[in-house]
Point group: C2
Amino acid sequence: MKLKHPLIFSSILSGLLGASLAAQAFEALPEKAPAPADNPITEAKVELGKQLFFDPRLSVDGTVSCNSCHNVMSSGTDNRPVSVGVAGQKGGRSAPTVWNAAFLTAQFWDGRAATLEDQAKGPILNPIEMGMPSAEMAVERIKAIPEYRAQFAKAFGGDDPVTYDNIAKAIATYERTLITPNSAFDRFIKGDKKALSAEAQRGMQLVESVGCTACHNGANFAGPTNLPVGQGFYQKFPAFTDNAYVSKYNFMDDTGRHEATKDEADKFMWRVPTWRNVALTAPYFHNGSVATLDEAVRVMAKTQLDKDLGEAQVRDIVAFLNSLTGEFPQQSMVRLPTTPNNSTFATK
Amino acid sequence: MKLKHPLIFSSILSGLLGASLAAQAFEALPEKAPAPADNPITEAKVELGKQLFFDPRLSVDGTVSCNSCHNVMSSGTDNRPVSVGVAGQKGGRSAPTVWNAAFLTAQFWDGRAATLEDQAKGPILNPIEMGMPSAEMAVERIKAIPEYRAQFAKAFGGDDPVTYDNIAKAIATYERTLITPNSAFDRFIKGDKKALSAEAQRGMQLVESVGCTACHNGANFAGPTNLPVGQGFYQKFPAFTDNAYVSKYNFMDDTGRHEATKDEADKFMWRVPTWRNVALTAPYFHNGSVATLDEAVRVMAKTQLDKDLGEAQVRDIVAFLNSLTGEFPQQSMVRLPTTPNNSTFATK
């Protein structure tokens, strides 16, 4: 299968969105993320969500937290090809970074969750991730911890504040604080012309001239950030299939968004991933099959644009991508609420 | 097997150590831990050791860090009966808390490591814990991370600072900062007579009159803290075996220190565990078989002192033990050193 017009999808989108898309090829990362009207950011929710994010009690056996696979002390991923959930089970796709995920208009590799709130509900109940048998059991687990009850009351109010929706809302609120501003690139486009090396500046020109920014544009280099919530920005991958990379890296073993929607039109469609901090999130692609960033650049040029880059071009683009590593905010370590005199996990 | 003189071991020790042992039944927790002469505490080592403690790259597949089982965001344990290591493997014994471990004169349930340094070397190489095939591989793993190389040079100096010994020294140094002072009990014995409830004060009298403090004495309630490094303070458990608890909780499936030394005299000998923060470290005992603190108190009275406590006595002792929950210091979240453009874990 070889597409004659691999850029057809972004062309359609460009048409729909008008000139604003092209104008946003290079854009600084905002310092604040948008929040949905029904889940405004509050300090109480951020603090609660941070505890939940780090709390392995949200997994069935107390061994896996959100942070296990989306390590915010590091790249927001586990830097593994695929993650390991409860009982040593391996997932099917590589964990995407949680850093700057707040700027995506759809979550997961296949965009099957519209919001961070929807996303947070998935892994907790996924049998090979955190393995909770039901949302009710997750709620009971958290409700049994007195200090959590008090915090949910403070953050959400109401008669019965510990709900699965509110667990997800708190986690999503914390995640909206996970932003890495002030990368060398951001400083450069804000006017500090010394912020980028000559190599990175050549790379910046290349990603546009080669065609990468047709999809990797906008503040998060993951497509337009002003799409309606949940719409997502999708592209076919691989677009060009008659090259050695496709079989070498097993790119067609997973049909992408099609696996979620069962719609033939979604076969091999994927939500465009962010370039922010991409230098830190190896290994690459939905199956984590590509070990290094330079190889990922070669693969993308070939599979998406049918181009063979020279080594100097690859080096320059890698230098540019490294300039997208941002500043990770200092955070305090959480204290997890305790259950004096007993444990959630009483039996082997 | 029923011992006629279950307290014979502490009696011998009392004889050896003289009156100082009895005098230290109740003692405040120091705010600083002792450090060995060859590994003084420095800020560079604390910071480095903290990163290593939280770094899952010290496990073979990047899924388990020291913190996975010794969660310093919580009780310093995983609050599971036994821990889960790489590939979902379960350990044989319950993870002891890392909080205040610096005050113990021997590490592990069986005291088989003399120091925190020795202890830190164990789990990394244990095939069912962090699963590193060799110390050399652990060193190579860390050495491949540029920012770690720089930090080891700063912390240790010398031509080849990234060694397995230095990895252990750094982790141990961080662990020496994990101290929880100013519990209600500490404030009480320093003169704040309102710090303990009437219930806890009755419990405090009971642990002495019932006989618990024959072993659970000293600043860490784990026996004398001034023993020679590595000696440890051991007791037989269970001392009285003709009660229902022993079979119900499978206490004799594990021969304790004997499994490490193969010495018949060490059969069922265990290093006395700390009471500090014991209310937070359920489930209890070396096999994590006892879910609640009140049951643990009943079990200990029966198996070690052949006494049946009344429910009011149990309540009072539990109240006293809760007064030993200290203040957990505020910590900053670590940033783990990165490996731009590639990952330690490149293949599935």
